[in-house]
Symmetry: C2
Subunit: 501 residues, 2 copies
């Protein structure tokens, strides 16, 4: 039957010994990348089209050796990359990594199993249940969010991003309400966040077909003690208005650690409002959730026992690498009711079962298939252990604290919003004007451009309460105190240069 014809062909696709040889080469390539990472400009300095222009228009017809590809990565790709793992990366939020995460991802890719339902790879589902319970325990979530020892409907799932977490919970919430008020009232549903809630909330709300006129982003202010937090009184007022108009409150998205300034919404008081109006209450703790593994930060989660769902992204600050958003819900049955479709070709003995032992995660997510996501998080938690992970958070916070002190000690600068975690929000003040916001904005824009185009560090910016400010987020795995000190020097020198002109 011509079996011999194919052996060679398959051997080229995957031969364990050839795999071993080439994978070892790539391990060394990556290790070498990390030893040189500080020699690259943090923010890529290429111009649009620079990378594309160096690459051919069509795929090669014949195979090319690994060495040519690695050469192109060195000469073409790396200069076009902004190095998120550089110790001098302080922009946005970190997306930090660890050896453990890398090894976990190798295993996930190596096995390349799909786990849409329990049966098609039981270990994928069960390990995910285990690690989601582990992490829930680490951030001290109440039992109602756990698979073990809870109500029987609680549990967690790894999604790719916060958007996935919101799309699922928003659909579960809507499905429940629509069953009461009917499809004909779907356009009356209203969702609530604050003007500081991550932009993905607005995007997903539109994507799921919430009436674009019914997405409320409660304005926040620079209130002492709770800067840029959602105000429960304003929220209630908005809801009362909506209800008076015949609209139906559906979903509230609170935040613990907003993107701009790490604002924390008052969960307890918001839960009062959500309960009163029968809304689903979701908490997005994408970044700051990781800090809650330390007892001293856990109070930011006070009230979490009263929410319906909570998500956090270990891919930001818990060393897992991208693509790890953890979502916990109390009522997984509502997700399943809203999202289950079960074509014949996916049916099996266990596919319609929902119990403490069998979960079919395809009904907890939008996509049909899923990777062995949990293995990465499992390796991170086991390789480091809880105490080292706590130390890692504390070390970043300590460095951010030091940076905050640097800023405070230079009278040309000010801290705009008090620091809560490892993000410092600051700006340069123009001494030659009457503190006009426009002048200050221009000055800080220039400072941002100056330091970023130096390639030495990468910081980012935001605008809150009309104030343009710079964001300095400590959290890249390789960042040490010396990098923070050097970064501050770059910023100071930039300021000196700008103020001289």
């Amino acid at each position: 039957m011509g079996s011999l014809d194919f052996v060679n062909s398959n051997d080229n696709l995957f031969n364990p010994e050839e795999f071993r040889k080439q994978a070892h080469q790539v391990v060394d390539f990556i290790a070498n990348y990390y030893t040189q990472i500080e020699s690259y400009p943090v923010l890529s300095q290429v111009k649009p089209g620079d990378i594309r222009n160096q690459l051919p228009n069509t795929a090669p017809s014949q195979s090319e050796p690994l060495q040519s590809i690695l050469k192109d990565i060195t000469n073409v790709i790396i200069p076009g990359m902004t190095h998120w793992q550089s110790p001098n990366f302080f922009a946005f939020f970190p997306i930090n990594v660890s050896t453990a995460a890398f090894l976990g991802e190798m295993l996930c890719t190596g096995f390349n199993c799909a786990g849409f339902s329990w049966q098609v790879s039981p270990a994928i589902t069960e390990l995910e249940m285990v690690v989601m319970d582990w992490l829930a325990n680490m951030i001290n979530l109440p039992k109602s969010f756990l698979f073990s020892g809870g109500s029987g409907t609680g549990g967690g799932i790894i999604q790719n991003t916060t958007s996935d977490a919101i799309i699922m919970t928003l659909n579960a919430a809507r499905d429940r309400v629509i069953k009461k008020i009917g499809t004909e009232n779907m356009m009356k549903l209203v969702v609530y966040g604050s003007d500081q809630t991550h932009s993905t909330f607005e995007k997903v709300s539109k994507a799921v077909g919430i009436n674009p006129n019914n997405i409320r982003l409660i304005p926040t202010v620079m209130k002492k003690g709770q800067p840029f937090s959602m105000c429960p009184i304003k929220l209630r007022k908005e809801i009362e208005n909506d209800v008076a108009k015949g609209l139906v409150p559906l979903y509230l998205c609170g935040s613990v650690g907003t993107t701009s300034t790490n604002a924390v919404d008052p969960l307890e008081q918001l839960a009062d409002v959500a309960t009163e109006y029968g809304m689903w209450f979701h908490v997005d703790a994408a970044y700051a959730g990781s800090a809650c593994i330390c007892p001293e930060f856990r109070h930011f989660f006070n009230g979490i026992e009263r929410v319906d769902s909570v998500s956090m992204n270990p891919h930001k600050w818990l060393l897992t690498g991208l693509g790890c958003c953890c979502l916990w819900v109390k009522r997984s049955d509502l997700l399943v009711k809203a999202m289950r479709v079960e074509p014949e070709y996916l049916k099996n003995e266990w596919s319609s079962t929902e119990s403490n032992s069998v979960v079919n995660f395809k009904d907890w997510q939008l996509g049909a298939t899923r990777r062995f996501n949990s293995i990465r998080l499992w390796l991170v938690l086991r390789s480091h252990g809880v105490e080292n992970l706590q130390n890692h958070i504390r070390s970043d916070v300590r460095m951010a604290k030091d940076f905050e002190l640097f800023v405070k000690s230079d009278p040309r600068f000010e801290i705009v919003v008090p620091r809560l975690f490892a993000l410092v929000c600051f700006r340069l003040i123009n001494p030659n004007n009457n503190n006009s916001e426009d002048d200050n904005e221009l000055l800080n824009q220039k400072l941002l451009d100056l330091v970023n185009s130096s390639g030495k560090i990468y910081v980012s910016h935001t605008i809150v309460g009309g104030i343009y400010l710079l964001r300095f987020a400590v959290g890249a795995t390789l960042t040490e105190e010396c990098h923070v000190i050097a970064a501050w020097k770059v910023i100071q020198e930039g300021a000196t240069q700008l103020l001289k002109n």
Copy 2:
């Protein structure tokens, strides 16, 4: 400032030399897994809870050595896995891999850069533009779907799954129509697929808030020449009905290679209908799209120049590993219009630019962040070259053809639906009855259970046109003719055993 305190802590998280050492160990672990893969039962034989019961309830407080973790993977995890990469895996569709894909994923994970907008890592965006054009050329898509040389709004993006592709295009379509008919008519929108369209279409349609009463799945039949294809006449009739009721046709999802039986919808004729009613026409070619890199299969895409968007999943049949769904659109500006949200913290010099040089992929997808997805596909295309990839498809098809011949040569079996690609749809016929469908279903269910519980092979099933059938999909990377021959023997022996009783 205490810099020395942290050096050790960070060293534990990521030290290039420790990374190198441990990653080499895991490479060997995975290579060894592949050398032993045939010794494991393909379908895991564990019972619900078996894996969880072997794992502790909480994360360890102290770090654990890699060796302990690998030991647990060997003893606990691997027995709980269904081995999708086994050469004896013939269920569902393949999700095949290659050394190149693994290396690409290592680089993606190693760099761990985010590429939501052009500036934050230009190479991520530009390499994706390049490989999407490469693959578009390989399947001979018209220029209107390409970045280079097209209309200026065409192009492609790598999404995770088909669901992501549908959610984006459905939103683009809706946004365009809503601007004409107003939000108040949103509940009048209707989407169309067939009863063979992948279940994710129904799921996503619900998730985006299409009125659940307005999701039309046109029934298909076992028509000669076009078994289980969507009938344009039935579709038109359904649309006419809807329009007469005051509803608004929005979106048509056609399929090239359905999941159950690889049915191919007649794109040309469906395009006529879509054009007439101003619908967005998307084609899901998740599995069979890969075959279209071979000229002899390309005719299944006839008419593709008239659709609005098309998606295919190289993670199924083009050796990339999971998480690679390629979506091409003609009017990316409609995606961007529908989905762009631009918070201040993500703004940069290029973030609102859309041109031939700068693309900000965050506006082409639901989630806010994205990995360096293209590097994996790039390595696969370069390492193999187009000709080897064509040979890989042809080799799988040839093996499936042989399996089809085996089935045809055994009078106890029948081919239920003629084979088009590398999926064979067949069943055992009960000779002791009057060919009652119920008896046949039971018999084939038993056969499925028998062969799968042997652990020797894994095949799956479906029901079409009331007929329960077995699906034998050739495509695991390691599968060679000898495995197909052995699998057929397992099935024949199972049949003999069942028919004896």
